[in-house]
Symmetry: C2
Subunit: 237 residues, 2 copies
């Protein structure tokens, strides 16, 4: 029964009721990428490192690992302080920006998220929007850093702000492209207190309406934080 609620496998359920079948359609999808040593990272950030400093193989009673990584590693959020000198830190992210209904939209343009395509999406005030782009054509997190990933051009960032969008997410390590507008896009979004979710795995996610749960670590005063995020289909499933 609990499996039916939260993403279990059909075979693990008792004889399925209509209720259970409906629930199974809306299982939680994990949209976080795995964290490990040497994983893909922004070029000028330190190489992520997870290492075991107490080991059972050395006769100790337990294994204990430590982490060394940028706060912007893997699936993560940016706080305003990332690009605004006196901006709010990660601990101020309101739960209602990161928990609740969201819309996954597909971006067709293989180059960038541009103002023209965004305007057709009729972005709404207070909306949480995740952009699924060409980046999701493969498991980008298993490949070397891609300097040509699809990001948001600055004019499109302004469209997002003007629409009053609350939270934006993207399927690569940054909302801002590597070669162009990376600084400006962050400044525009974070300056308007749009919350940013980066490093999503949207490969298996179809465009549509979902419930979003995204929980970043509550790191006091920090410019960002690693996060875990999951989605569940809303509506007919």
């Amino acid at each position: 029964m609990q499996n039916g609620w939260f993403g279990g496998i059909a075979i693990a359920l008792p004889a399925a009721s209509r209720y259970e079948i409906r629930r199974m359609k809306s299982a939680w999808l994990d949209i976080s990428i795995p964290v490990h040593t040497g994983m893909v990272h922004w070029p000028d950030n330190p190489v992520p490192n997870v290492f075991r400093f107490f080991k059972m193989e050395d006769g100790l009673p337990c294994n204990v690992s430590a982490l060394f990584m940028s706060a912007h590693t893997g699936t993560h959020m940016d706080s305003p302080r990332h690009f605004i000198a006196d901006g709010d830190g990660m601990e101020t992210a309101p739960l209602d920006a990161i928990l609740g209904p969201c819309r996954v939209v597909e971006i067709k343009d293989p180059e960038a998220i541009k103002a023209g395509e965004l305007k057709k999406l009729k972005l709404r005030r207070g909306e949480r929007v995740l952009f699924k782009t060409r980046n999701s054509a493969g498991k980008w997190w298993e490949k070397p850093f891609d300097r040509d990933f699809v990001g948001i051009w600055k004019e499109a960032a302004q469209v997002i702000v003007d629409a009053g969008v609350r939270t934006v997410g993207i399927d690569y390590l940054s909302v801002g492209p590597f070669r162009k507008d990376g600084v400006e896009t962050h400044q525009i979004l974070l300056g308007a207190k749009v919350w940013i979710l980066e490093g999503l795995n949207l490969c298996q996610v179809k465009p549509g309406n979902y419930e979003l749960i995204c929980l970043p670590l509550k790191i006091t005063g920090c410019d960002g934080a690693p996060a875990r995020a999951v989605l569940r289909k809303l509506g007919k499933g």
Copy 2:
């Protein structure tokens, strides 16, 4: 409207309907402790360190911080691999162990969570249970490490396993006490694949039924992971 759903402030809402008022009663409560340099930590683990390595005050366009800390820092989860040599890593934690209904129970015994008191709670198969103990009398995370915190004695860990509990949480850095049974309690719980949530802030949480959202970082093969956890009251509110 969205504020009403997810813990907003009354004044931010349009004229409140009965529906909105009911929703506001069950706002999300953050039960995670803040992460910062020098925060309270297990004595033989490294001192947590959050440091900014790119700084706007140095003329750079952005602030970027890095983290160095044990995977068992602050609010976090243990995976079986913490005390079982070939146990499963953090990435295997099933979402249905950490998302869903849970029960917050109050432990009266000021010394430890013991089998006798646990047996009266009628723990149920598949249940997610968070223990609120004497540890929650104050903000324990703002004080030095307390070697006398309330943890679970090994006989009580066996009661939890025998009841078939799915997930246990506690309001200090470990389910196992510092002076006694620390190893055994972990071995019993993790050996039975009970998922463990530690370092909770339950100071403001009354015993009762809640919806739990706990999302640990998905660290491949790791013995634990920092997490963020929130609760929302179920039932009458």
